[in-house]
């Protein structure tokens, strides 16, 4: 089931004083058919029906090094902006569809492969100059959230602790505002943000060769793993290369989010994460007896 808040509930913030359930209607999309049984239990892949969209009607923003326009592996870029820093401060301005190194184009191409009919937008946060890159990342991400994009692909992170609190607040605002931030975990074992936050969908790389395989991590904080090794990607100059890293697993999941939202546009971010969880190749609904959690048995 997917849901959407109604106009009547928009003023609801802190409590339900004076409101009854009848005052809080929530309209939901029809859910998927029941999952078929498998020898190892019930396949959670029954939610596959939720993943059947093409991305049509979904606005995806790639926050990165820019996206090359008219690249055969990317197709149309519906909007290009850049974060610039000058005497007036840091701001977002419209720019040419260009990429300073190829990384953003690679991410956009993967999203296009997974969700071919989505709207693709770009905001360049790297490449203008080196200094202040953490500030530019924060500015670009905030701008993307304020624009109300449905999905934001962030194959970047910052190691600067001083940005963590502001990024955390921004990630939470995006979560409640139905902008899904899909963020790369750092490739190295380095503490960085915002992928560490529960309000984003965090992605790392598995080492399998299947480009469409994705897995749920039973031991987060990295929640999902997708194809990130030896990936054929679009690159600058209308070309392609092979590359590896979490950066290229992340747009796969961003593309999956676009597909899901195109068929179920009223889905909330927590529902989206549930669908990804249930459709991951390693998640099975089994008949095994449940293990008691450490807290069970403590409540009379």
């Amino acid at each position: 089931m997917t849901t959407a808040a109604t106009t009547a509930s928009r003023g609801l913030t802190w409590g339900l004083r004076g409101r009854t359930p009848a005052d809080l209607p929530v309209h939901a999309d029809v859910g998927p058919p029941p999952a078929p049984p498998t020898p190892s239990g019930t396949s959670a892949a029954g939610v596959a029906g939720l993943v059947g969209g093409t991305g049509r009607g979904v606005r995806v923003c790639v926050v990165d090094s820019g996206v090359e326009g008219e690249h055969p592996g990317v197709g149309p870029v519906d909007g290009s902006w850049a974060v610039v820093k000058d005497e007036a401060g840091v701001r977002v301005t419209e720019s040419a569809a260009a990429d300073s190194c190829g990384h953003g184009t690679a991410c956009a191409g993967i999203i296009r492969r997974i969700a071919p009919d989505c709207e693709l937008h770009s905001v360049r946060v790297l490449g203008e100059r080196f200094s202040g890159s953490g500030e530019m990342l924060l500015t670009g991400l905030r701008w993307a959230v304020e624009q109300g994009f449905d999905v934001v692909n962030l194959s970047l992170s910052t190691t600067k602790n001083r940005f963590a609190e502001e990024l955390h607040a921004l990630a939470d605002a995006a979560y409640f505002g139905r902008t899904v931030i899909v963020a790369s975990a750092h490739n190295a074992q380095v503490e960085s943000f915002p992928w560490r936050f529960a309000s984003v969908i965090s992605v790392g790389s598995h080492q399998e060769t299947d480009p469409d395989l994705y897995l749920y991590n039973p031991q987060p904080p990295v929640e999902f793993f997708a194809h990130g090794q030896n990936v054929e990607v679009a690159w600058i100059g209308g070309t392609s290369i092979r590359t590896s890293g979490n950066s290229f697993a992340t747009p796969f999941v961003a593309g999956m989010c676009a597909r899901i939202l195109s068929s179920h546009p009223r889905m909330t971010t927590f529902q989206l994460k549930s669908v990804l969880y249930l459709s991951a190749a390693n998640v099975r609904v089994s008949d095994l007896p449940q293990q008691p959690s450490p807290r069970e048995g403590t409540i009379p």
């Binding site: 100059r129 080196f130 910052t158 750092h186 380095v190 070309t239 392609s240 092979r242």
Partner: protein
């Protein structure tokens, strides 16, 4: 992500890390690229350090192809694969570059050498990126594989810590051992060595 200058460097001295590199540090950097090249059986290796005053990356040590002419060359820090690695703080592997005409042109203009594959990892110490360690044309067995990317990243962190120690020395070391920055660095070096040993065991 990079925001600050070299630790312990006064603001006026942050214009160039190069000025702080004495012969011993240059020897250290050369040793790092030599070892990185050997680990990955690569055609070349290089270290590029950030010059914040000019927003440029500067070749400070090169092993193999380009060794004779690349040291001292500069290019804008926000561009190219090395620029992305420095700005993002993330390692990256790219392959099949020779069939990438755009890459060929840009690289050939600045380095006169066009690799087919490139691995690059940030020289990161704490939350600071000091530069980039690049390995060009590693042996085919060492390419495009996540464990090798992990290994290069770990080695680069080790090199960054060594560089940090070499550049900053041990100013202000407390006589009683409390708040001893050198001790912190030695501890980090030991931890990185332990991580490297574990990673090599896993390969």
């Amino acid at each position: 992500m990079i925001e600050s200058t070299y630790p312990h460097a006064p603001a006026s001295a942050s214009a160039s890390a190069d000025a702080r590199l004495g012969p011993a540090t240059a020897e250290l950097l050369q040793s790092v690229v030599n070892v990185a090249r050997a680990i990955f059986a690569a055609e070349a290796g290089s270290i590029l350090l950030l010059d914040r005053a000019t927003d440029e990356l500067v070749f400070r040590a090169v092993s193999g192809q380009g060794q004779d002419f690349l040291v001292g060359r500069r290019f804008p820090a926000g561009q190219g694969i090395a620029g992305w690695v420095a700005a993002s703080g993330e390692p990256l592997i790219v392959d099949d570059l020779r069939r990438n005409t755009a890459f060929d042109r840009l690289l050939a203009e600045s380095t006169r050498y066009v690799p087919d594959a490139l691995m690059a990892a940030p020289l990161i110490h704490g939350a600071e990126v000091l530069g980039v360690l690049e390995v060009l044309d590693p042996a085919p067995a060492a390419r495009a594989s996540l464990p090798e990317l992990d290994l290069l990243s770990l080695f680069a962190r080790q090199a960054a810590t060594a560089l940090q120690v070499a550049v900053s020395g041990c100013p202000g070391c407390a006589a009683d051992g409390r708040d001893d920055p050198a001790a912190d660095k030695r501890q980090e070096v030991a931890r990185l060595l332990s991580d490297a040993r574990r990673l090599l065991d896993d390969l």
